[in-house]
Amino acid sequence: MTSNPTPINLKMLLESQTLKRAPFPVPVGWYFIDYSENLKAGELRNISVFDQEWVLFRSESGDKVGVTDPYCPHLGAHIGHGGKVCGDNVRCPFHHWEYDTDGMCKAIPYAKVMPPITKKQAILRTLPTVEKYGMIWSWFHPLCEAPHFELPYIPEIEDKTGYTGSRRGSWSANTCIQEIAENGVDVAHLKFLHNAPGIPPVSASYNENQMRLDIGNGYIVGDMYGPGLNVMRFNQKDPVTGKTITATMISYSVPVTHDTTQMNMSFRHVDYPEGSPELAFTKKQIDHMIGAAEGEESAGFESVDFIVWNNKRYRPNPLLCDGDGPIFPFRNWFKRFYVDADLSKI
């Protein structure tokens, strides 16, 4: 005779069958659309971000950029197929209704009377759009609310002198921004996935739309401004000169769909003289951020993170142990960027 076996916790074993890769909607925030130099005056093209298509255009004067819903509120023509920039407006090809960058209807060439709603509000959805850091940025909110915060001043990319660095990168990740950003607080993975010498200490603090992350007591200090902008400063003592050198990674990820992301980055640093040891050390720091720098055992995100991001599923009830980073406070903070979602499941 055998005694009754201990009941099995089936949820533990079977939950993965119902997990989704990224069970989140597109989060609210400011997002990179393109580099300003890539959109000429009078240009119009279709882009796919935030789970749908949009029409991106620049006014003929060059100083206004619009991101609009593609489908004309009149009879539904796709403005990005055959539409045209006319002055400050975009014009639908079907009946030549015109819209400005705020989505206000500015002309209906044959109507004697403009429909009253055109005087009250935008009739075509547009995204609030600004140019900053030499880039085009749009504010996404699923219910069309105005921006909740402004993009920050970043000296490394906005000051006219003192900084340099033209290195940029762009990577496609088969997951959502929350999953990518969670690696910031998951310090244990730095040792095991990235081969860092140990698990560094971490502290994360949250203030409304901002998160500040400090990894390794000031070694990496990151400031996240909503889901779409992360400024990470790597501060490291150069053993040759004895100076602490800072290199800056400006990361601007865009939700292409709710579960795919385009990760974009610019790398900036102090404008050290050519041939100086400071410049050499800075360049090595930047190599280290991206991939494996020469002579190093550890690996940057490019070489190791994607294999995990691209294949994992989100566990809303993860089994964490001592030594894991502060995952739950990060997840609770990130919920603020989901609107109209069932937050109990995420």
Binding site: K112, V113, M114, P115, P116, I117, K119, K120
Partner: protein, 107 residues
């Protein structure tokens, strides 16, 4: 069921009968009176403009802000009177049996 006594744009008078529960605009549009009702009740075109005999006023719903705005917008092109209405905003009911309506000029 209600009867509508209509004065057309030439001053001719007719009576049409229609079911309750549908917009006055549809009854007029379908009666070959050259009343367009283009926007289908969205209050964005002003082509269903009518004058309703003031004695019916208390049986009609008040103008909404959107109806008011559309009437003001066509005011530069046609005469808008205190008894002007967008007929798409008036629902036919038994209480309106016998209502007297004049088709306003085209915008």
């Amino acid at each position: 069921m209600a009867e509508i006594r209509v004065t057309d744009r030439n001053g001719g008078e007719r009576t049409i009968s229609t079911d309750s529960g549908r917009p006055l605009m549809e009854a007029l549009r379908d009666a070959d009176l050259n009343l367009q009702g283009t926007c289908g009740g969205a209050m964005s075109c002003g082509t269903c403009h009518v004058y309703i005999k003031p004695s019916w006023n208390e049986k009609l719903p008040a103008r909404s802000e959107d109806e008011q705005m559309m009437l003001e917008a066509i005011g530069d092109l046609v005469e808008v009177r205190p008894n002007s209405r967008l007929s798409c905003q008036v629902e036919i009911s038994d209480a309106l049996n016998g209502i007297e309506v004049e088709i306003a000029p085209e915008v």
